[in-house]
Amino acid sequence: MTVKPKLHLIPGFFVFAFGFMLICSSRALAEEEVRFNRDVRPILAEHCLACHGFDHAKREAGLRLDTHEGATATLDSGAIAVVPGKPDESELIKRIISDEHDSVMPPPETGKQLSEAQKKVLRQWVQKGAGVEKHWSFERPAKPTIPSVDSPTTAQVHPIDFFIREKLASHSLNPSPVADATTLIRRLSFDLTGLPPTLAELDAFLVDYESNPDSAYTVLVDRLLRSAAYGEKWGRWWLDQARYADSNGYSVDAPRQIWKYRDWVIDAFNKDMPFDQFAIEQLAGDLLPDATLEQKVATGFHRNTPINQEGGIDEEQFRIDSVFDRVATTGTVFLGLTIGCAQCHDHKFDPILQREFYQFFAFFNNQDEPTLSIDPTAEEASKLKQQKSKLELAKTKIIEETAAAVTNWENELSDEQKANLPKYASKAIQIDPTKRTFDHREDLYVTEVGKDDKRYKDLIASIKKIDVRLNKGITSLILKEREKPRETHLFIQGDFTRPSDLVFPSTPSVLPSLPSGEATPNRLDLAKWLVSKDNPLTARVIVNRVWQQFFGRGIVETENDFGTQGAVPTHSDLLDYLAVDWIDEGWSFKRLHRKIVMSQAYRQSSIDRPELRDKDPNNYLLARQRRLRLEAELVRDAGLVACDLLTSHVGGPPVYPPIPPGVMELAQVKREWKESVGKDRYRRGMYTFVYRGNPHPSLNVFDAPEGITSCTRRIRSNTPLQALTLLNDKAFFEFANALAKIIDRDGIESAFRRCTSRIPSEDEKAVLSRLDSISAARVLLNLDETVTRE
């Protein structure tokens, strides 16, 4: 050692190995098996690249390990980290096996340590020539050939099952048997529509399934995909990522109107809008030729950023904050990349320069943020106003033409008669005729002379109708490209008060470039680029996030990070197959969803098996399905369906179901919560008004996002406050009372099925039969099973 470079990894990078990595690394590796992306990169990424990676500002000892050139270069010290084929001459190998505190890598103060298996992998890698592959997710996926699995019915095996079973076979594991019919319909109903099956749906399915399981299942899938509730369930999935909420956030947190965007999303899913169009309209609908009203509404995607209305702020600062958010959200949602990390410095792990961040930023720096009038539209409003003034003119004419008749009538009235006139008329009549306003004269006209004037009444009715339209005032927040572009500068350390070089819109160089053209590319070009077939990331990222919904975890566990720090795909061929197939089939969500739920992997039982606890305790290999606690909104929806209270109206303004007393007082600015009555009281959870700063407690407690930043995966916590909500919350107690009546009417078994979809066992019935109806109803709504999809 000639030189002892101070090699400090970022302190605090303390990562637990993912279960899958354990599987990989514990697998005995034959020498020829070492592959850079699968075996070596994860080790480097976790232990080395923070100081010996892409970020040149943090690079220690001039060493870069993620390129072949960098790894094999002669360092300032004269040492060479990697001498291909010669591990014993390689400084890297010497350092990782060193016993000396000052020389061993990674440095002990980082708290990181290489396992013996990991050291062996690195040694083998060097031995085999230290080849470096481009990070897997930056290579365009190719449709893999379907591997063969010994199975008597190979011809019928679903493509997804080929990949899953191949992996299982290599670990000597079998898939689980198919779940029972009740579990299947309950699982499918929640996963596709977010609602449990009704008793009628259950009964019909069970009969069909008995006679022909496959066709019954297929018919069910297709029915659910056609249901309007499908758009609600999957719309909500997208709204998490779009950080949708109904208020402005920050401290003032005033209400906003953007629910038309929410309805646009629901509608897009129900129409099965292809994802490429779905993405383009949301990112750049305003730039499409002859953009329709709907396409403009779609740009609300990037208006879901919070707005700070606190006094004394610098508005430019918060405009820029929302642009930062748009860049980060676009990166996360579509590319699965943490582009936002390059806001202040070059990305530490992924090849994204700070300059590239601001080139990406430039696409989003050129918009105005107007409010679009929707009902009535600006055009309609001006037409309506014109119509209204015509009608008013006609009305004026009537009043003028009948003036003499009214005067005659007035003159013939006795004082007593005058005193007995309706209030408005007696008020008008007391005023000196020369000083009467038009309204006064109108009031006198309708009192007697005009009381049966049909023409006049029709006019009034028409005017009223117009007023109703005009007062509707439905608007939505949208993006609108500016005529004259703003200049974009790189901000030193992400600080907008420190602008530096001027930059122009462009995409990160590690990804395919934009098609070259004359004009400066804009948001529309960016949107098209994101969903172009050449983009290696978007389809994989979205398909993975869809998979996550059906299995509780993505094929890439880090669903928001496909970069070098992200998890390795558990089934990379399957991921690529799904991504390419999805594009080939026209980016259809319904086809993709159908494909997944038709697989046997999806249909498996979720019951745990003893042998899996040792071999794959976290179920990375998918030898079974997984029990998943329902998402916050669905906990409510399940209760509403069980108690037969659900109002299944799709879309419209947000609603205000009961809220515990005192909640709204916690906010800085107290907002009104006018509890919805009638049908609106029983709408699906997704329509509950969301105040970012003060979200509805029964949604919040079950981990619903507040719409503050993009949420690509919900946490599923399990807490006492959830128990208190289901036990005592006013809304849930209301459900329990409704369910108690059902118990009285239909018996406990029927109520049990409404909550869990299945028939109770004798033991279960015995427990419940000891209770009065309301208690039994409350128990049913509190069961783990009721709030779980199995």
């Binding site: 004394g312 507040e706 807490t719």
Partner: protein
């Protein structure tokens, strides 16, 4: 989150293997007997079970008295005779170059504003405190003052968020969530992170200040309400009798246990546990709020006139009761310290009023913890999201604007060095001339006292390992520690 989940899964799996099908039965028997002692079930399948520290801890819990709005350090603690001498003179331009302030374009003024208060030295340490805080002054020798606290953000909501989470951006865990995530809770019948509020309104930004961010909502702060039920949905519906509630809980546990046996999903065991804790909270939370067992002497000590009235003083007493019950992190918010000089926020009338509201009780809390033997392992923190400018801000009267370069906070107990003043500001109290202490240094120091290495307490999200102290280097302020 992956690391967290897999860790949790592993511990639960371990537990499950050991206890097998007995889980539900154990929980049920506990429910029936209403036993209060913790058992092995709670320790392993409860995410709030106590966890080992990184190294031996000096303190076990924190009570953070959050003075929302930004108290004027220049009228309370940081004595600046030169500022008073030059009252009305323009601020030397050299101080202001390149600085940004809130309300920059409207009411910002650059003339110096000396304090109207009289200062004196107190205790053996001769600590300067103004006449606004006579009770605090009396215990100056118990306290550790840092006069050079520094933050990054000058608007209320972002700055409060910064003090709580180490970031001005939404979506990060707050301090209390970090502590319960890192250490668990030593209280099995109340939440590990509790929030209390007093003053005319909630803190700007509301629930984001006690958010668990990317941590599971288990770690989120639970506001204890002064009116109505202390915890949302704590009370059994009025038409349900206690006997019925117990029957419901018993039957729920029995049925959940049957399902657990069939599926072997430890989430079911966790849920059985959660219901048990919920049931305990139904008793323990009202019991906590009921201060009738406290003596009149105690109430007088805190300055509580009406024990039913929701005041900062009552919240301080509740904080002591929470500390006694082992709650990890208690945060009290008191509004409003935003003395710009407007009609409801002037330095002449409203600053003295709010100072009086908090002074006696803050001091009483420290002394009361001490006489209960709790001060040595409880840290009390007193401070706001930022301080205020030495320059006057002219509104209806002359007040002070938000200021982020130097402000005062005090600490007591939990291994802080009593009778210490740390950090020196310039002649106007505008910026530090010695020993600046950034918010992240405060975070690192508090974590350190609680036995946690701020560089090791991380959570993985969006491809990054997040920590309370963020990405820039943070320093443990050893000089203020005993």
């Amino acid at each position: 989150m992956n690391d967290f989940n897999s860790l949790r899964d592993t511990t639960r799996r371990h537990f499950f293997d050991q206890c097998g099908i007995g889980v539900g039965a154990m929980a049920l028997s506990q429910l029936q007997s209403q036993a209060s002692g913790s058992d092995s079930l709670n320790k392993v399948s409860n995410p709030l079970a106590p966890k080992p520290t990184h190294f031996p801890a000096k303190a076990k819990r924190i009570i953070f008295l959050f003075m929302a709005g930004g108290p004027s350090q220049l009228d309370l603690f940081d004595y600046k005779p030169e500022l008073s001498r030059l009252n009305g003179e323009p601020m030397p331009a050299s101080y202001l170059e390149g600085k940004r302030f809130a309300f920059m374009n409207s009411s910002h003024r650059v003339n110096l504003l000396g304090t109207h208060r009289s200062f004196a030295q107190y205790g053996q340490t001769g600590t300067w405190v103004s006449d606004l805080l006579p009770h605090t002054a009396k215990i100056a020798d118990e306290l550790t003052f840092i006069h050079t606290c520094k933050t990054d953000l000058f608007n209320h909501a972002p700055a409060k968020l910064f003090m709580n989470t180490g970031s001005g951006q939404f979506g990060r865990p707050s301090m209390g969530a970090w502590f319960t995530y890192g250490l668990g809770s030593e209280c099995d019948n109340l939440p590990g992170f509790v929030v209390l509020q007093s003053g005319p309104r909630g803190p700007r930004g509301g629930a984001i200040h006690w958010s668990s961010g990317m941590l599971p909502s288990t770690y989120q702060g639970v506001p204890l309400r002064n009116k109505g039920e202390p915890i949302l949905n704590l009370t059994t519906p009025s038409s349900v009798s206690d006997a019925q509630q117990v029957e419901v809980l018993k039957a729920t546990a029995q049925l959940n246990d049957l399902r657990l046996k069939e599926y072997g999903d430890d989430e079911i065991a966790t849920r059985i546990n959660a219901y048990e804790m919920a049931y305990k909270m139904q008793t323990s939370a009202p019991e906590l709020m009921d201060t009738s067992s406290e003596t009149q002497e105690t109430l007088d000590f805190y300055g509580i006139k009406d024990a039913k009235e929701s005041t900062f003083a009552r919240n301080c007493l509740l904080a002591r009761r929470l500390a006694q019950r082992g709650v990890r992190f208690v945060q009290l918010y008191h509004t409003n310290w935003d003395h710009h000089g407007g009609p409801t926020e002037n330095l002449q009338e409203h600053l003295p009023k709010i100072a009086t509201e908090v002074d006696q009780a803050s001091a009483a809390l420290v002394l009361d913890l001490k006489r209960h033997g709790l001060l040595e392992d409880t840290i009390v923190v007193w401070g706001g999201e930022f301080g205020r400018t030495p320059m006057g801000e002219v509104r209806e009267s002359t007040g002070r604007n938000h200021h982020i370069d130097a402000f005062t906070m005090w600490f007591a107990g939990g291994g802080f060095k009593p009778g210490t003043s740390y950090g020196v500001t310039d002649e106007f109290g505008f910026g530090p001339v010695q020993d600046p202490v950034h918010v992240r240094d405060i975070h690192a120091t508090l974590l350190h006292q609680m036995g946690l290495n701020h560089e090791r307490l991380t959570v993985r999200s969006q491809g990054l390992d997040f920590k309370l102290t963020g990405v820039l280097p943070a320093r443990i302020v050893k000089e203020v520690l005993a």
